[in-house]
Amino acid sequence: MQRLTRAAALAILLAAGAGAQEPSTEEMQSLDEQVQEIKSDVLAIAAELTRLEERLLYPSNSQLAVFVSIAEGETFRLDAMRIDIDGELATHFIYGFKELEALQSGGVQRIYTGNVATGAHRIAVSVTGKTPGGNDFSHTDTFDFSKDIEPRLLGITLAGPTAIELGNW
């Protein structure tokens, strides 16, 4: 009986032992390869489509793209952001945990792509959230920028709950 009991125990251990993996079947391998190929194809289509969309919807002479990042080390909680351009709502975004973490880890979010005429413009950036101390904050800053015939990239850096900075790129 002891031998049988041990066998049962070992069978459990083997089943539970991490990493015990079965080899894939040929069909699964073949399918896996085909899935990889179609991923490549779709990525290529996506790239071409993005170029086409950009040309069609956001031609370079009027293109404006607004990017958002959070300064290194900042731990405040960003809940939402609103962007107004020349007094009109351009976009607003509510941040979930993953988006916020991605920003705090050095990622840069393209929050808006649109079109503006060449010349002088004004952008208003409004943020709401919670300070590291747990207090609610809400803050708006306004910046002037100009647009010429090249695509215009604006980088908004949140250097603190009430410190919004605009960089030219």
Binding site: M1, Q2, L4, T5, R6, A7, A8, A9, L10, A11, I12, L13, L14, A15, A16, A18, G19, A20, Q21, S24, M28, L31, D32, V35, Q36, I38, K39, S40, V42, L43, I45, A46, A47, E48, L49, T50, L52, L56, L57, P59, N61, S62, A65, F67, S69, A71, E72, A102, S105, G106, G107, V108, Q109, R110, I149, T157, E165, L166, G167, W169
Partner: protein
Amino acid sequence: MQRQQTMQRQRLRGRPTRLGAAFAGACGGAATALALLAATAANAERKADTPALQDLYFGEAIYYAHQEHWFEALERLDAELGQHRAVDEPELDSLYYHLREAEFDVGDFELNYRMHHRAGRAITAVLEGAVDEIVRNDAAFRLARIHFQKGQLEEALHALGRIEGRVPEGIADEIEYLRANVYLGLARPAEATEILRSLQGADSLRGFAEYNLGIALLEDGRRQEAYEQLARAGMVESADEPALAIRDKSNFVLGSLLVEAEDFSEAQVYFNRVRLEGPFSNAALLASGWAAATGQDFERAVVPWSILAEREPTDPAVQEAKLALPFAYGELNVHGRAAVVYSAAVNAFGAEIEKLDASVASIREGKFLDALVREEIRKDKDWVIRLRSLPESPETYYLLELAASHDFQTALQNYLDLDDLRRRLASWDVNFDAFDDLITLRRDFYEPQLPDVDQEFRALDSRMRLRLEQHRLLEERLDSMLVAPRPEFLATAGERSTSEELARLAASLDGVETEEAAALRERIGRLQGTIDWALRTEYHDRLYVFDEHLGELAEAIEVLNGTYESFVRTRQAALHSYEGYETPISRLRRRVSDALGEVNLLMARQGHVLELVAIDELNARRERLETYEDQARFALADSYDRATQARAEIPVITAVRPSDEGP
């Protein structure tokens, strides 16, 4: 400026990696815990030395990568790299500052997106290029890691062999850890042991280096040393979940080895060290009970099995505990209690068999695949677990258990990826119609206006060219006056007209030799002299005014030129807003349609495989449960008999225990 500097101070902080799990998949077996915790930690450390962010689109790719949106991350990074390679002066491109990082990252993203075939191409290109020693060594390490993940161990070892000289700060341990794991994968435990010994205590590898050394020793046949090493690995202190999990695993494996060596009481010590909540908890509780039972200590066996029997009933360890627990009660001669628990087990197994039947039936009806792609569920990171708890969804009761199978995982991931591709392609397909509408609207708006606009423009264009020519001549005149003074150029219109009239009068007196004519000539000369005098004495003042006016004119011309160019651009933009899209849209529409067809086909095939794997697994589970149920029924009857006998004070001779068929 300060704002920009602040933005540029942004660092690319620690990139996410799921290579930990992937590593575990590469070598397989219970032998190694091949997590790349170290890689993550060292990556984070290394990123501190990366240049300030210069390329927003690269930052955008990183943003998506941190959210594990690998498709978007790859799309952005591919596009950025493609553009960078196409520019004539790459050193002026903003990605230039992050090129190496981008080439390394694209490999990581491809791996995470399960595109193993493509992964490594960019890194190989770096390795083959003329780069400095540190970058080359970094590339070689990353390439080795990719080969390792693909299961190409010899290639991984070859890539590691290319590392010579200085290595990037923070990855020296990672390199050696990877080398040790490759040796383990190649069944060269002695070499792995030697390396792993040197990595003991490395912070970034806490728990993993210790555990793997134990396994390497075991594989090298040094059993006693392996036990001691695994015991050390099972005592590692850490607050990190991965390190705690590997500590649990060390204790579990050591306990299992001691059971194998028939040292049951010692085995229990290590099983008991496994945390009650963790990936090895159920298995450890079950094994702990068996270790005690095998040592005839049934009272002790009851404790872990009682805990386990109350847990999630679809877990195989829990199911076995439901049978093992009454067995222990029987061995303790508590037959009444055993009968009650056997009865509960029979009911539980019956219920689980019903669930399994319902699951299989539901899968055959195609509901399983529908459930897997429910978008609202997949937004939750624990979606596999949540799926199981959905009411009236028998197709997903056993999903979590199925997900433990490698075949199932591969099939599931591919199916989900295909579903994601299908959604994208379907949405693009709709976009094309919107593009067509947009282009038609633009054409209808611009085309009727353009002929009139063009006609007016041509008239304005010829007038403008005339004025531009006049401006050019005036500038030439100013230039010539700066070389040699030409006062006559600065005469006013009245002076020019008077001079011409005087010249005409003087000409009319040619050949007339009278006193009156002589007097007239003298008067004409005086008058011309007055004009000349004014021209010469006022020359500098006039030149200054002329220069000022010419400057003002130049400004006006500049505005004119700007307006002209703006018009031309706007005119071109209007035309380009609807011209030239037909071919690319039609080509893309065809490609999307073809790809969608292929994705649908692959999804159907992949879904079928998934269903087959699931049904096979569930049937196997059902067979085992049927066996358990039969054993429980038999043991239940036996327990009742014994309980009755006990009440009648008839001594019990034998006990019934579950068969030794393991899961």
